[in-house]
Each structure stands twice: as structure tokens, then as C-alpha cells.
């Protein structure tokens, strides 16, 4: 058993090796590159499954760690290590399975693209970094991989770098994340200076008898800045919708299932810090709840299939963060897992549609897809039902756990907010389905079902979207919660009323979408006109991108211009002025060179006296003083 665990670093190392192989040798042979990459992630997935079996058959609470020295000096130590417990085992499973399916799917989606080799190289380095992040045993290592997945995201968003929009989106993603990481890094630095240690386990022991909230509160908030960037919470959410410029399988893997969930994973991993500071927890809950509602409202009116899904992802990430903030760590992680399956399913389904329609992403132009693309359509519907929270699909169980957590812990406002978001989610998802798959747009008539290499992963993910919820369902004894929970967290009994309400809301949302967009009983054009100002605000995403662009232009570029002027005119000007003065005085002095020997002798004498006096004074002061 222990060989399996102590060799677990290989799970992350395999994709890195694939990356190196492709980068150095195989980039000329796209097929070999793709095979290498898929083989590596398949082995990692297999290994992760074996580990998960071990972890989830052993008694809860067992932890395996190992580490090698990486950066060490007196007072600072960062290791590269592995930490395997149920939390990381689940993440390993989710990441490797989704990554494997996405890479297989990419074989079809990316076929014929001139950059296939680079694509798979980036996929590999992403998988390796993400797994390194999951396995991390300390904050230092986490930060290293945290930034590396950010790099992969940058590279893959900008994969079609010939497009200006892709170039801009990639840059925006990296820089927005950097703003979050600025805070995150400060939090890590504070921990390093305060405790001289960044190891999770040792920190959690140290924190047991450290109760200085005045210090811990800023640290917790600074650390939270990391998830705000990576998991795209308000106000750093702006990069994620633009990240849809990347190839769709990338959106499915990185910007829906795995990387953006890393922030939530961090909240769970460092839960011992956050939960020690109640004020920080309120703040996290509020930030998550707000993002959930805010993003869902934008998703109501978008017309680009990927952007609807992107705002939905934002909203669901907000849900998970909110769960962490109210202390429902188990529920948050559970939702992370189910969401990874059904959201990647939805993205891959959208990719299948976009692939069939040669790049068309406007849902109003699609239509009739259900006739031409049955597998894509029905797997997409399963994904949407899971997301909407229809029982007994996976999303129902995990969403219910969060709402139950909010209700039972007395956060009634957040409970109401979460329920409202659930209703909105069902509505916008089925608006999408009725318009794009069953609507009257014309493009869809010419579509063809995607090849098996793409529909296969869809089917597998559809199955997972249906069944994954039973891992944490009260019906099956909530195995998930049995293994993954915060120490001392209250376990909430199943509440039929909450389940009924959330199911009814979901059905209501679907029904409303059906009435408006399928039956046309309520005209959506009329709705739009009546509430045109609200529609405009939502359609333009509350004008936040415009605001940020203006702020950057005024403050960042403005100060850049001012300071450059200062540098050229004042700092540099002083120097040139000095040079000018030297030249001028040289000219003046040259008049003294009049050729008279007596004058020179006078100079020499004066000079000698000055030097002598100076030397005597210098010696006097330095030696005698």
C-alpha cells in the first residue's frame, strides 16, 4: 500500500514528462504528441483511482505525507511534497478523469489544427501542474503550482494567438489573477515570517494555540485574495468570461472543472486557518453569495453559448465559496466534484455544437440541433438537469447540501439567496436548451453529430453527472461527508422540506423557460422591451469591464506617463543640467589658461596648498577624531 502512496508524486510527474518529451522531441509528429500526452494522463488517472480505493476503504482521518527539500535556509523552508488524504484523493480523481476525457475529446475537436502538438504539450503541463497543486503539502509548493496552472491557462486561452481577442483575453486572465496572487503571496509571506513554516500540518498544529485574531484576520483575508482571483469571484471575475477565447475543451477542463476550482480547494485545504477567524468566514460567505447571484443574473441574457456557461461557472463557484464561508466545507467540496463532471459535460457538449457549426456560438442562430445531434443534445440535457438540481441527479444532492448547511447554521439570508440562484440557474440553462437545441434558428439544420471520439467522453461524463451525487447523498449514508469534513463540523440531518423547495424551484425555472422560449406564451421580445434598461445593464455585465478599462487607463497608464515625464525631465534633466554646467564652467576656466607661466605657477602653488590642507584635515579627522 505504501509504495502506491510514496510514489504518488509520479501522478504529477507523468504529465510533466509528457510535456518535456513533446517539447523536445515529438513536436513534429502531432499524433505521437497526442498519444504521449493521453497515455501519461491515463496512467495518472489509473494511479489516482488505485489511491482513491485505498483511501476510501481505510478508516477516515488517515493521512500520508512525504517531502523532499527544495528551498532551505535557516528560517525558511519550502519542500516539494505530497499530502494524501481524502480531500486530495477526491481532487486527484476529479482532475485526472476529467483531464483524460477532455484530452481524448480534443483528438476530435483539434483535428487538423496546425498547433496540435503544442496543444497537447500545454494540456500535459497543465495536468502536471494541477496535480502538483492538488498534492501539495505546503503553501510554498502550492503557490508554485498555483502560478504554473495560471501560466497554462494563459497559454491555452491565447492558444489561437493570431486572434487579437485571444491575445487580449490571455493577458487579462494572467494579470487579473496576478492581482489576486499579490494578496495571496502576502498572506503566505506573513505565515512564513510568523511561523517560520508553510507546511499545512505543522501550521494547523501551531494554530491550535494561536488566537491572535488581529493578526489572523488580515492573513486570512489576504490568503482569500488568491481564490478570489483563481476562482474568479467578484470583483476579479472579469477574466473568466473572456477566457472562453480558448479552445472549448480547454474551457471545459481549466475554466470549468479544475483550475478555477483550485481556489475552492485551497479554502478547504486551509480551512483550519479560515475557520479560526469568524469575520473572515462572513466575508468569504458574502463574497461567494454575491458572486453566485451577480453572475447568474448576467447569464440570464447572454446569447453566446460559451459565455452563458462561463457565467454559470462563476455563479456555481460563488456557491462553493459561499459554502466554505458558512462552514459547510463538506458540501462545498461535494459540489466542486459534481460540478466538475456536469460542467465539463456541458462545455464539451457546447464544443461539439460549435465544432459541428464551424465556430458558431450564438444560440439564436443554432436551432434544430436535437434532430441532427441526438447524443450531444441528450447528454447536454442531462448536464443541464444536473446543474439545475433536479433529483436524483448529482447537482441536486450537492446543491441541497449547501442550502441545508446555510439553513441549519442560521444563515437564512444566504439560504434564500442560494434558492433564488437555483431558480435562475434552472431558467437560464433551459433558456439555452430550448433556444439552441429545440429552437427555430437555421444554422442547426446543417449540423452533423460529432465523431465517437467526442461523443464517447460526453456519454461517460453524462453517466458521472447522474451518479456522482450518490457519493454524498443521505440515501447512501453520505460516504463523502464521512471522509471529508472539517474537524468539529456539525452534521446536519436530512431535511425533506428543503429538498422539496429546491426541487420545486428548479422545476419552476425550467417551466418558465419552457413557457417563454418553447411555447412562446410569454413573448421574450416584449419582456426585453419592457425591462430594457435592466436588460442592457445585464447584457453589458454591469459595465464592469468598461469601468476597469477606464481605471487602468487613468490610474496605471496615467501615472506611467507622468512618471516617465518626471524621469526624462527632472531626474535625467538634472543630470544633463549638471553636464551642461560642467561644460560651461570648463569654457569659463579655459580663459584662465592664458599661457603665462607665472599664472600657472600660482595655480600650482594654490593647488598644492589646498591639497596639503585637505590631506592634513582628512588625516586629522579620520585618525585622531
Amino acid at each position: 500500500m505504501f509504495d502506491l502512496f510514496s510514489g504518488s508524486w509520479i501522478i504529477a510527474a507523468l504529465p510533466f514528462a509528457a510535456f518535456a518529451l513533446i517539447g523536445l522531441f515529438l513536436h513534429r509528429w502531432p499524433r505521437a504528441a497526442a498519444t504521449t500526452s493521453i497515455l501519461a494522463i491515463a496512467l495518472s488517472a489509473l494511479w489516482s483511482i488505485l489511491i482513491a480505493i485505498q483511501v476510501f476503504t481505510a478508516a477516515p482521518g488517515q493521512v500520508f505525507t512525504a517531502a523532499v527539500r527544495w528551498l532551505e535556509m535557516p528560517g525558511l523552508r519550502v519542500d516539494m511534497g505530497v499530502l494524501i488524504d481524502p480531500l486530495s484523493a477526491v481532487m486527484l480523481l476529479v482532475v485526472t478523469i476529467v483531464a483524460l476525457l477532455v484530452q481524448i475529446y480534443s483528438l476530435g475537436y483539434m483535428e487538423g489544427d496546425p498547433g496540435v502538438s503544442s496543444y497537447f504539450a500545454y494540456q500535459s503541463i497543465f495536468a502536471g501542474s494541477m496535480l502538483g497543486l492538488v498534492l501539495s503539502s505546503n503553501f510554498g509548493q502550492l503557490f508554485v503550482f498555483w502560478e504554473l496552472v495560471g501560466l497554462c491557462s494563459y497559454l491555452l486561452i491565447g492558444f489561437w494567438f493570431g486572434r487579437d481577442s485571444a491575445k487580449e483575453a490571455a493577458k487579462k486572465a494572467f494579470i487579473t489573477n496576478r492581482v489576486g496572487d499579490f494578496g495571496f503571496l502576502l498572506g503566505i509571506l506573513a505565515l512564513a515570517v510568523l511561523f517560520g513554516n508553510l507546511d499545512y500540518q505543522q501550521l494547523s498544529i501551531r494554530l491550535e494555540d494561536y488566537h491572535n485574531l488581529a493578526v489572523l484576520l488580515p492573513i486570512a483575508l489576504l490568503l482569500f485574495a488568491g481564490p478570489v482571483g483563481k476562482s474568479a469571484q467578484f470583483p476579479l471575475h472579469v477574466w473568466l468570461p473572456d477566457a472562453m477565447e480558448g479552445p472549448t475543451p480547454v474551457s471545459a477542463l481549466i475554466h470549468a472543472a479544475t483550475m478555477v476550482a483550485a481556489g475552492v480547494y485551497l479554502l478547504a485545504r486551509a480551512f483550519f486557518i479560515f475557520s479560526a477567524v469568524p469575520q473572515a468566514m462572513y466575508f468569504i460567505a458574502a463574497a461567494g453569495g454575491f458572486t453566485a447571484l451577480f453572475a447568474a443574473s448576467i447569464a440570464l441574457v447572454q446569447i453566446d453559448i460559451k459565455r452563458i456557461l462561463a457565467y454559470s461557472t462563476l455563479s456555481q463557484l460563488g456557491y462553493m465559496v459561499m459554502a466554505m464561508g458558512i462552514g459547510a466545507m463538506t458540501a462545498g467540496m461535494f459540489h466542486l466534484m459534481t460540478h466538475a463532471f456536469f460542467k465539463s459535460l456541458l462545455f464539451l457538449g457546447a464544443g461539439s455544437v460549435i465544432h459541428a457549426l464551424h465556430g458558431e456560438q450564438d444560440i439564436w442562430k443554432m436551432g434544430h440541433l436535437s434532430e441532427k445531434m441526438p447524443v450531444t443534445t441528450w447528454t447536454f440535457v442531462i448536464g443541464a438537469l444536473a446543474l439545475a438540481g433536479i433529483p436524483p441527479l448529482s447537482g441536486f444532492w450537492s446543491k441541497d447540501e449547501i442550502l441545508l448547511g446555510a439553513f441549519s447554521s442560521g444563515h437564512l439570508f444566504l439560504y434564500a439567496l442560494g434558492s433564488l440562484v437555483a431558480f435562475m440557474t434552472a431558467f437560464y440553462m433551459f433558456r439555452l436548451i430550448f433556444v439552441a437545441f429545440f429552437g427555430s434558428g437555421t444554422e442547426g439544420r446543417h449540423a452533423h453529430e460529432s465523431p465517437p471520439v467526442m461523443t464517447g467522453p460526453l456519454l461517460i461524463l453524462a453517466v458521472l453527472s447522474v451518479v456522482a451525487g450518490f457519493a454524498g447523498s443521505p440515501l447512501t449514508g453520505n460516504v463523502f461527508g464521512h471522509y471529508i469534513n472539517a474537524p468539529g463540523a456539525a452534521h446536519h440531518e436530512m431535511n425533506i422540506a428543503i429538498m422539496a423547495v429546491s426541487s420545486l424551484l428548479a422545476v419552476g425555472g425550467i417551466l418558465l423557460a419552457w413557457l417563454i422560449y418553447q411555447k412562446g406564451i410569454i413573448s421574450h421580445q416584449e419582456l426585453r422591451q419592457r425591462f430594457s434598461s435592466i436588460y442592457e445593464i445585464l447584457y453589458h455585465k454591469y459595465y464592469i469591464d468598461e469601468l476597469y478599462a477606464r481605471l487602468v487607463a487613468v490610474f496605471i497608464d496615467g501615472s506611467a506617463r507622468v512618471l516617465e515625464w518626471v524621469d526624462l525631465k527632472i531626474v535625467n534633466g538634472l543630470v544633463n543640467g549638471l553636464a551642461g554646467f560642467t561644460g560651461w564652467s570648463g569654457k569659463q576656466l579655459s580663459y584662465t589658461e592664458n599661457g603665462q607661466v607665472q599664472t600657472y605657477a600660482l595655480y600650482v602653488f594654490t593647488g598644492a596648498v589646498v591639497i596639503l590642507v585637505g590631506a592634513v584635515l582628512a588625516v586629522y579627522y579620520t585618525v585622531l577624531a
Partner: protein, 483 residues
């Protein structure tokens, strides 16, 4: 040796330059791996008494601080020869001056005698001046202006140093009773605090100018812009580091109390470096100016690492010097190559170059990502260590310094995006990607960036030994227990 080779035989000259720098590189690698970390202290020592009356001896040796910088010099020197492979006029002069420059820089890192240190430092100035004025390029400023500005700044800096050194010499002679220029001997003395402050201020002015400390940085962007590629590489890569090296080896080692008193001022100036220069970089249009100002900004990290005066921060500062050296040299090598082929360095002229020049794009990306402190690349190690070290001394200032990572990301990604990505521009279709010897700088420096970042202990253990030794042998009481 090159001077003895016939002028006409340009090929031979190039090969001699390549072979001699290669031998140096191998030797410095041998020193790097041969240094016994369990013993620490100065090793590979050479000692020849020279001027007895002044206590000067030709003494060379290396420890954990100088080895990384020595290695850096040779990595860059070797790459620089290849980066300027296609120099066509006055090949003989070019390569002899280049080698002289490299030798001078190496000498400063090797010297254990203050006089020899200073001598080598002065040796460096002459070839720099000639190389810039003869082989440089004129864009925003003329190369004559750049060369003049560079030289005057360096000379004024060294004038401050000279005064400081003479004061130190006179003082120590009166304390010791015999003349000595040996750095370790000088460091054993306990000078009065006021004297230490006085000399340390002079050294800060001298070394600080060399390290482009705000507000004495103006020479750096203009100087790089005017200089030929190889000189920019060596200048930004290693020559600047003599400033940081001097502050540690001569300043802190000999005058710890002076350092302690002046450190807060250096820390504040360091922040000005980081933030102010980063903002100025944002508004630059010429690739060399971007790297030039960015290097001023990054020297702020080194300075705050030095100013925090503890083991962690100084380790970080030395690491950062190494890291910034390889990164900046790679940047200049790539820019130089691009300029050689396209005759422009204006960001707005480019776009979508990754279509035509994928290898060059890889080089620029690698340098850029290192520059913005991406983990896995060597600069991150330096920055992270500096931040941890500095944070325990200066909370607010470090927070401001860390904001530099955001600003750097902004200007680096903007630049790289505008140069490399976006639609293909047909006017650049004629550009040839890197090939043959042009790949040498990319491979050599790229490997250093990656190995240093992935396996940081290879370099850091060495530095930690050196800095630890240096701090242990300075007077702990004088440093006020900042360990």
C-alpha cells in the same frame, strides 16, 4: 591573444573568442561543483604579495557569494560571444574588448583584496566606453551620448568609492599599525560608528550608482539602448551586479554598523526603484528601454534584500542578482537578434512574430516569464526569498515592493503580446528564425533559468553557505541582532 591574430582572419577570431569563453565557462562550472560546501569560506585561493608598502597583494578566491556570480559572468560571456557572432566591422577590436570586459568583471568577483577589486572594476570602464561608442546604435539617444553618460556615471560612482576606500585604508592602517588591503583583515576591525556611516554612505553612492539605485539610475536605460547586444547583455547581466556584490562583500562585511544605520534609507530608495521604474517601463515603446527600465525596477528587489540585512534577505539578493543576470542577458540576446534582422526595436512595429519566429518567441517568452517571477524559473526563487527576508524587517515597504509583481506582469505581458501575438504581419515574413549558433544564448541561458528555478537548492545552498559565513564573521552586536 586575439590582438595577435591577423585582422583579416575574422573567422579565427570568432573561434578564439568562443573557445576561450567556453574554457572559462567550463572552469567556472568546475569551481561551482568543486567548491566544498562542508568547509565553506574562501577556496581556490591565489595569493601573490604585490605592493608591500600599501599592503596590496594579488589575492583571488571564491566563496558561496562569488561563485554564482562568477558562473553568471561566464554563462553570459559565452552567450554574448555567440549573440554577437555576426558583428562585421572591426571584428578583432570588438572581440578583444569584449574579452577584456569579461575578464575585468570576473576579476572583481574573484578579488579578495580591496585594491585588486577596485583595479578590476576600473578596467571594466574602458572597454565599455569604446564598445558603446564604436559599435553601439543610436535611436532615442545617440550612441556617443549613451557612452558618455554611462562612463561619467560609472566614473563618478567610482570616485565616491575611491574616497571611501582611501579613508578606510588610512583608518585601518592607524588601527592595525601596518598597511593592509585584504578585505577579510579589514573586516575584523571595529571602526567607530560615525566613521562607518561616513564610508558606507560613500559606498552606497558608488555601488548604488552601479546598481542603478534611484535616483542614480538614469544611465542604465540609455546606456543599454545605445550599447551593442553583447555589451547590453554583460552590462545588465553582470556588471550591474558588481554594485550589489560590492555592497555585500565590502559594505556590509567591513562596515556592518554603517550598513545598519543607512539600511532604512536604502530600503526606501529600493521601493522607489521597484515601483517608479515599473511605471516608467509601462510607458516605454522601445524593447531595449523596456528591459532597461525593468532592470532598474528589479534591482530594487536586490536593494531591499540588501537593506533588510538578514540571512534570508541577503540570500535572496544574491540569488536575485544571478537570476536577473541570466534573464536580462537572454532578453537582450533575443532583442539584439531581432534588431539585427528587422532594424527596429519599436514594439508597435511588430506583431504576430510567433508566426514567423517560433524559437525567438520561445526565448522572449522564457525571459519575460522569468522576469515576471513565474515559479519554476529562477527569478521567482530570488524574489520569494527576498520578500520573506524583507518582510520581517520592513512590513509596509515589502508590501509595496510585492506590488511590483503585478506591474511587471502588466508591462511584460503587454510587450510580449504586442510583439509576438496577434495577426501575422506579412512585412516580417522575410525574417529568419533563430538557427545554428544563434541558438546558443537561448539554450545556455534558458537552461540556467530553468535549472535554477526547478532545482533552486543547487545554487541556494551555495549562497546560503557564503552569506552565512559572511554574516557570522561580521560583528553580530553591531548588526543589532537582526538575525
Amino acid at each position: 591573444m586575439i590582438m595577435l591574430t591577423p585582422r583579416s582572419n575574422e573567422k579565427l577570431i570568432r573561434y578564439i573568442a568562443a573557445v576561450s569563453t567556453f574554457i572559462s565557462l567550463i572552469l567556472s562550472l568546475a569551481v561551482f561543483f568543486g567548491y566544498d560546501q562542508s568547509v565553506k569560506g574562501m577556496q581556490f585561493v591565489e595569493y601573490v604579495p604585490w605592493i608591500k608598502d600599501l599592503g596590496v597583494s594579488f589575492a583571488l578566491g571564491v566563496d558561496g557569494i562569488s561563485i554564482p556570480l562568477l558562473l553568471l559572468t561566464n554563462l553570459i560571456g559565452f552567450s554574448a560571444v555567440y549573440a554577437s557572432w555576426h558583428t562585421e566591422e572591426r571584428v578583432q577590436e570588438f572581440f578583444s574588448l569584449l574579452l577584456l570586459l569579461i575578464a575585468g568583471v570576473m576579476g572583481t568577483f574573484l578579488a579578495t583584496d580591496l585594491f585588486i577589486f577596485f583595479l578590476f572594476y576600473e578596467v571594466v570602464v574602458v572597454p565599455i566606453y569604446i564598445l558603446v561608442i564604436v559599435f553601439g546604435s543610436s535611436k532615442r539617444v545617440t550612441k556617443e551620448y549613451a557612452a558618455m553618460k554611462l562612463t561619467i556615471y560609472l566614473l563618478i560612482g567610482s570616485a565616491f568609492l575611491l574616497v571611501g576606500l582611501i579613508a578606510l585604508f588610512v583608518k585601518s592602517q592607524s588601527m592595525l599599525g601596518y598597511p593592509s588591503m585584504d578585505i577579510a583583515t579589514l573586516a575584523m576591525l571595529q571602526y567607530p560608528v560615525e566613521f562607518q556611516v561616513f564610508v558606507f554612505v560613500l559606498m552606497t553612492l558608488g555601488f548604488g550608482t552601479l546598481l542603478s539605485m534611484f535616483p542614480f539610475h538614469a544611465w542604465s536605460p540609455d546606456g543599454y539602448a545605445g550599447a551593442p547586444t553583447a555589451v547590453s547583455m554583460i552590462h545588465a547581466g553582470v556588471l550591474k551586479k558588481i554594485g550589489g556584490y560590492g555592497l555585500i562583500r565590502v559594505g556590509i562585511f567591513i562596515l556592518p554598523a554603517g550598513a545598519k544605520m543607512i539600511a532604512p534609507i536604502i530600503a526606501i530608495l529600493a521601493i522607489a526603484n521597484v515601483v517608479y521604474a515599473a511605471f516608467v517601463t509601462l510607458n516605454q515603446k522601445d524593447l531595449k528601454y523596456i528591459v532597461g527600465y525593468s532592470s532598474v525596477s528589479h534591482m530594487g528587489y536586490v536593494l531591499i534584500g540588501i537593506a533588510a540585512l538578514n540571512l534570508i534577505s541577503l540570500n535572496g539578493a544574491v540569488m536575485m542578482m544571478f537570476a536577473h543576470g541570466v534573464m536580462a542577458a537572454l532578453f537582450f540576446a533575443m532583442i539584439g537578434n531581432l534588431y539585427h534582422k528587422s532594424h527596429t526595436r519599436n514594439v508597435a512595429d511588430f506583431g504576430g512574430l510567433a508566426h514567423q519566429m517560433p524559437r525567438l518567441a520561445t526565448g522572449l517568452m522564457l525571459a519575460g516569464l522569468a522576469s515576471l517571477g513565474l515559479p519554476g524559473l529562477v527569478n521567482f526563487i530570488g524574489e520569494f526569498t527576498i520578500f520573506v527576508g524583507a518582510f520581517s524587517e520592513y512590513k509596509v515597504l515589502t508590501v509595496i515592493a510585492v506590488s511590483g509583481i503585478v506591474l511587471t506582469a502588466v508591462y511584460i505581458l503587454r510587450t510580449l503580446g504586442d510583439v509576438l501575438f496577434g495577426p501575422r504581419k506579412e512585412e516580417w515574413d522575410h525574417l529568419q528564425d533563430l538557427r545554428g549558433v544563434e541558438m546558443v544564448p537561448l539554450v545556455v541561458l534558458g537552461l540556467a533559468i530553468i535549472i535554477g528555478g526547478v532545482l533552486p537548492f543547487t545554487v541556494m545552498d551555495l549562497i546560503n553557505g557564503g552569506v552565512g559565513q559572511l554574516l557570522a564573521s561580521t560583528n553580530l552586536v553591531q548588526l543589532g541582532g537582526s538575525f
